[in-house]
Amino acid sequence: MDRTRSSRLSEQKLVAAAATLGLGALAGLAAYSYLGPSASQAQRHAKTPRLTDDAPGRTARQARFGDYAVTGRSVTINRPRQEIYAFWRDFSNLSKFMENIEDAGESEPGFSSWTIRAPLGQTVKVKSRIVSDRPGEQIAWRSTEESQIDTEGKVMFRDAPGGRGTIVETIISYKPPLGAVGQAVAKLFSAEPSVQARRDLKRLKMLLETGEIATNRNRRGEGGKYQQQMSPV
């Protein structure tokens, strides 16, 4: 009795929600087709030459450049430029805040090697040549032919205005395996660079500003790789 009643109730809820949303959308569509821009207006709009704006290219509505997907993120960290540069330049630090970097290091001078976690328990090995290294300003890299993915990127450091620390900006371009489909699948597993860049830079900020990476876990060993080895005091 009770169960049928409650399932009927939730069905009613669903129908009511769908009706509210659906009717709203229909009404909106009808209003738009009636009141929206006329054909001539839309044509005029398309012919108007566009001003190239000041936004970074990666924020364009279509952020693909040929076969390459480009992603990037900025974060302001309340620490000096040199300190953040030095932390990043020691590539073994990258796995401390980057979720999908299992291991990273400078395998030989001028080259860095990363083991990257990919969807479905796979790993991808990337060996990059460091193509630019300006202490306190930027580090740029490009994958070599031995790598399993084709990628390049750079990280730039500049003083934030008003004594707010350092703006760290990362740009990564890569050729997604299997193209757009591969990119969509990776996104689904939160292993796609744009999702990762966002979270990784937040963790970098936490680590450098507070000395630790926030976790809601209540027990040692549950916080994953970001938790420092702690023994009770």
């Binding site: 929600a17 979270r199 916080g223 938790q227």
Partner: protein
Amino acid sequence: MRALTYHGKHDVRVDTHPDPQIVNPRDAIIEITSTAICGSDLHLYDGVIPGVLKGDILGHEFMGRVVEVGPSSTLQVGQRVIVPFTISCGQCFHCRNQEFSHCDNSNPAEKQDVSETLYGHPMSGLFGYSHMTGGYPGGQAEFVRVPFSDVGPLVIPDHLEDEKVLFLTDILATGWMAADQATVENGDTIAVWGAGPVGLFAAQSARVMGAEQVIVIDHYPHRLELARKLGCKVIDYQQTNVLEALMEMTGGQGPDAVIDAVGMESHGFENFNPVDTLKQKIGIGADRIGALRQAILSVRKGGRVSIPGVYGGMSDKFPTGAMMEKGLTLRMGQTHVQRYHRDLLRRIEEGEIDTTFLISDVMSLEDAATGYKNFAYNQNEWTKVVLKPKWEKGRREAGRARTETSLGTGTEVRTEAPVHA
């Protein structure tokens, strides 16, 4: 340890969980001596805040003794502390600007996506709330892990009893910030919607700050009685036309500042509220903003609107016209507890602020489910519930809100079964 656990809408139980440990260097573990049920816990209880999961430990108003510290904590074992409900690192841009509830670093990175999508920016970490705010285990428990324990907790001198200082963790600071953001000036009338704990503390704060007249609006007679005992005037919106009354009580000018201490589950049948209620019930993330609409319409031209009440979703019929044409200032937000708690502790010590008048019930943590039910459904009499993890099940004492008022008794829900069954 024992802890009050969320099992679903209107279903909370005291369950056994593993004791918390030091996980990060700045952590401390607190053994809780007193904890309270907050009005915003009722938003979780009613299932209107997204991201609360079965098994979550609730509670964000708590205090106790330090039993363990991490290597970077500045606390010492044995110290008695209150813990702000906002988790704040102390080092990010916002913390340095005293905007502690906007901390960039306290919400785990993987928990920030939802609020970043919903609000444009991620929320910071809060104890015992939603996974949008970190999903941190809360303090309606025997023990709690406190991150950034060198920034949040405030050491309390032993001569001040728990009940006097417990509300520094949230509602006292929240009421104070509400009055602070309303900006009390000489000769001002401040109108407060909602005579719950935050509304009552906001009203008291406005009086301490020198308001000429404070008017509190509610419909529960006992809660209005508590407001009147603070020296406020009261309006029962079920008896009185609020907009007219506020105009007539302010010489035809309207209140100088208004405080919405009601939030997203506004009651009543005016101000388009039934439409909001319907939308909230079918679960499409709507806020009920009836009280806020009325506050915005009633405030004088050029007036200030302060919103400590909790909102989480979207709303419509929002009176943008009144806001613009009357030139209003709106201020709101989760409380920057660490900005105010030292000053408020001094005011408590000096007897300037009364913090215990609104407590109706002190009971064992084991009976927390009964406390939730009554705080939710017997709002007239159950004005504030304090839980004691050390008390044996069944022990309960009446607080001053019952012993010192004429309307403080009443029926109560005494069943253990969920009400919706």
